[in-house]
Amino acid sequence: MANLMNIGLSGLVAHQTAIETTGQNITNASVDGYSRQEAVLSTRPPQFTGAGFEGSGVVVSDIRRISDQFLTNQLRADTSTFADKSVFVGELSQLDSLLADEQAGLSTGLQNFFSALQAGSDDPSSVAARQLVLSESENLSSRFNALHARVDNQRVNINNQLTSGVEQVNRLASGIADLNKQISGLPGSGEGNQPNDLLDQRDKLIKDLAELVSVKTTTQDGKTVNVFIGNGQSIVQGGRAGSMQTVASNTVPGQLEIAIGDAIVSSNIKGGSIGGLMEANREIVQPTLNTLGQIALGVAQKLNQQQSLGVDLEGRSGSNVFVDVNGTDVQRSRVIADASNAAKGNNAIGVAIDDVSELTTDDYVLSFVGPSKDDFILTRASDSSLVTSGSVSASLPDSLVTEEGFSLNFDSNNFQVGDRFLLQPTRNAAADIGIAMRRPEELAFAQPIRTDTSLANVGTGTISAGVMQAVQAADGSPLASLATPGELSPPLLVRFTSDTQFEVLNNSDPANPVDLVPARNGLTYTAGSDGAIFPTDPADPGYTGFQVSINGLPATGDEFSIDFNGGGQGDNRNALAMLNFQSEGSLGGGNKSFSQTYGQLLAGVGAQTHQAKIDQEASQALVNQSQAARNSVSGVNLDEEAARLIQYEQAYNASAQVISIARDIFDSILAAVR
């Protein structure tokens, strides 16, 4: 009878706990990361009586947390991947729209520039048409500047996001460590009774951490969880949290590296939004800046070079339209000394752009590797492949021409073995480009030479208008022929001494043409050949920097003269040569025009964005699946809880009834003896 009372009581207590558990489930149904709990009822051990074993009621043996460690881990990994891809797509999409934008992108700027140049070449003497060319050059260069600023701003944004991401990692890590401490310090946790809600909290924090960066976990003593990042760098070890921080890169200015303690772990960081941000910076933002720079260098260098071959409206030889790409400061700014170099501030190295068509979008690393302190190797930054090697000469300044379209200029040989420099020939060129020309009259649309056929000629020979090739010799010194402004030194006379032989004479005094020094007499003319009359090899002493050809059948005594193109305001030959850059392959080994290079950048970013979106969708599907699988096990179903509620309520009522019956029985006995 007393036993019956106890049995009823145990039922009341047990089912009250079960109802409480159900209530807990119902109220936490919407909590992210909550795992449903279940009161495990078991039969109390029976008591031995004379009649055998007699039951003694029910007891709650455990409040079980329904969770599957495998699914939790899976969800965590998929979350990392999804966060990685989402951030990557976010960054890419910005670039994708920016570059294709008609207003901000480069295509329209290039088109407008060449249209203006075309109009200028149609009417080379019009100052208004020239002004338009100058204005469009300015627009083009400010478009480069604006694009660079926008893309560079994205790099700054990425750095800000990295910094706040790292702060969050530290906050989460110390949260996990605290929970580790609490959980392992709790009494009873050793006996198999788990602090369910704390475990949920810890899993939630680890999942949040995985959203920032991909993590691995191990469980220690069944109680504490250790968390690792990358290749096993510990961020939570028992009750201690490691500290992650961003540090400015030693090698790449403006790039942030991730460190745990003192160790740089950037290259090991994969996945999560931090991984995505770093990938976007490395794979997209920086190469985009390089490509923009490559195009900017191409435009500036090619047009300046062509400009130098012409003469302007006032008969002076052409000056730079765009700011010189090889100014000393700009050359220096392309070289970044590693912060750990032995000799601090020793950056007397310049990178000069030689041939934009050979230029790549790569960055390079110059390392002084020994054995002598002047020995260096030049490697590509992307894959560390060897470009060239050499040694800085003792006689300064020294320079080294590479096959990558640039040369290295050393103003110092004060280097140490182990010194390292990052070379970025193209990185900031889109920001550096600017207009050097102020007056439209200075646009050199004309060429400095013109040719003339003598009216006394008897044969049918004709002379071409001539093509300018260079105003500088191979060593960079000005060629004598055009060294004096406003004249050809000397004016030349081509005279045929027979039908197949000619001589080139100094025509300074038309009354008395004299031999050139060295003399160029007795040259052979072959009708039907290209008729070029000057040597094409710049090393030849007779090289003039221009080429003129004679065709047809000249006769003995026929004369052709070549003179300075004074007053040639109607000449547009040099403008036509500039126009050729619209479609001519000026970049990428001479195969791609400026706009093709830009189109390729556009297509590349577009394709990467497209691919990243597909990856993002795939990882979204995966994260959805593992979320569904986890929720299917651990999530709360309210209908189920409602049914449990009814079940336990009924059982509770029934247990109360048992107590009531026990009381009745007791009453009956009392009544019998009264």
Partner: protein, 407 residues
């Protein structure tokens, strides 16, 4: 599989998010009329679009250039036609001057009309285009190319330069012709010569040399093609005439008088002004004679050869040679005109090619970039239908709960 309520809600949230994004994308496509909104929508098409747009822009530029070529050439042709008409009138007058019934006075009248025509020719040769540039000056378009001196000599100070305009990726067309080819480079019936001052002459004001004339054709023919040089001695009261090729002296220490005729090797010319010591003048043989000199010589002849019998033969010779030279000049004009016509033909056929290409490019652009509205609108209605269905069904299903029955 067990089902949890939190999953139901998050699934619905994701589903309607996705559907709304799809809806909005389709809506943007419809609003802009474009299938490809950003390059990532279809990277391959995006690349093509950029290429085709560039081709179109270039094509448009070339068509503009062809217009400009046609305008320039039409203006030039117009001037050459005027010159040709004047030339024809001059030829008529030349034939008329050969009429034996005319006397000296009649021929002088004809000479007067010839002079007007000559002035007209010079003004045509100095005509300018709409931009104010001299059409026939070559590169030196800002400077008047044909200058008439007091004695009627017309010299050319332009050059042979031609301005080219690009009309397709591979074709450039010249939009002007030097006046030299038109008016100066004209085959002459007889061997003739041109005179010129040395650019380094130091006299101020410079002494000038007249155009001169061939006095004795037979004597000159035997001297031809040697060139002569007139060199003033120090003091410049005498001059020498030397042969240019070998420097051999032809006439030595001739006394100088301004404007007095100098006769050498069948030629006659004069130097006037005050030449300085060392000044030089060139007399260069040529098989060419400018149109202006032909007409100028004719005028001088008609004005000087009178009715005497002695003047009869030189006049007949002059008229015959003038007619030949005028025909040659006509041919020079015609040659340039033919070349202009050929260039205009090339311009026209290139323009037709560009129009064809433009049509094709537009078609490609439209296929790659433009939206198929029928498809897009039916897609939009289907997407909205799915979204509505998802919303309604979720509202329905989320109402089902056992708790509704616990009262």
């Amino acid at each position: 599989m067990r089902f949890s309520n939190i999953q139901a809600f998050s699934q619905n949230l994701q589903g309607s998010n996705r559907l709304q994004a799809e809806n909005s994308h389709t809506q943007q496509q419809i609003a802009s009329g474009r299938r490809v909104l950003t390059p990532s929508d279809d990277p391959i098409a995006a690349t093509r679009i950029v290429q085709v747009q560039e081709e179109l822009a270039l094509n448009e530029q070339y068509q503009k250039n062809i217009n400009s070529v046609n305008n320039h050439l039409a203006a030039e042709e117009q001037q050459i036609e005027t010159a040709t008409n004047t030339l024809i009138r001059i030829r008529e007058l030349t034939i008329q001057a050969g009429d034996g019934a005319l006397n000296f006075e009649n021929r002088k009248t004809i000479a007067t009309e010839l002079r007007q025509n000559l002035d007209h020719l010079v003004s045509v040769a100095n005509s300018r285009n709409a931009d104010g540039d001299y059409i026939f000056a070559g590169y030196q378009s800002a400077q008047q190319p044909f200058v008439q001196t007091a004695d009627g000599n017309v010299s050319y100070s332009g050059d042979e330069g031609q301005r080219f305009v690009k009309v397709s990726a591979t074709t450039t067309l010249a939009v002007n012709d030097g006046g030299k080819a038109l008016f100066m480079d004209v085959a002459s019936a007889n061997n003739t010569f041109t005179t010129q001052s040395h650019p380094a002459n130091s006299a101020q004001p410079p002494a000038i040399i007249s155009a001169g004339a061939v006095l004795d054709q037979a004597a000159y023919d035997s001297f031809y093609p040697e060139d002569l040089r007139v060199e003033f001695n120090d003091p410049p009261t005498t001059f020498n005439i030397v042969q240019k090729s070998d420097g051999a002296t032809v006439l030595a220490s001739q006394p100088y008088a301004s404007g007095e005729d100098i006769e050498v090797a069948g030629l006659q010319f004069s130097v006037s002004g005050a030449p300085a010591a060392g000044d030089k003048f060139f007399v260069e043989s040529s098989a060419k004679q400018s149109l202006f000199k032909t007409v100028g010589d004719l005028i001088t002849g008609l004005e000087t050869l009178d009715d005497s019998i002695a003047a009869n033969e030189p006049r007949q010779k002059l008229l015959a040679a003038s007619l030949d030279n005028l025909d040659n000049a006509h041919e020079s004009l015609l040659k340039v005109r033919t070349s202009i016509g050929a260039r205009m033909n090339v311009a026209d056929s290139t323009a037709a090619m560009h129009e064809d290409l433009e049509l094709i490019s537009q078609q490609v652009l439209s296929e790659e970039r433009d939206l198929d509205y029928a498809e897009a609108i039916s897609r939009l209605s289907f997407q909205s239908f799915v979204l509505e269905a998802a919303q309604q069904s979720f509202a329905r299903v989320s109402n089902l709960s056992l708790f509704n029955f616990l009262r």
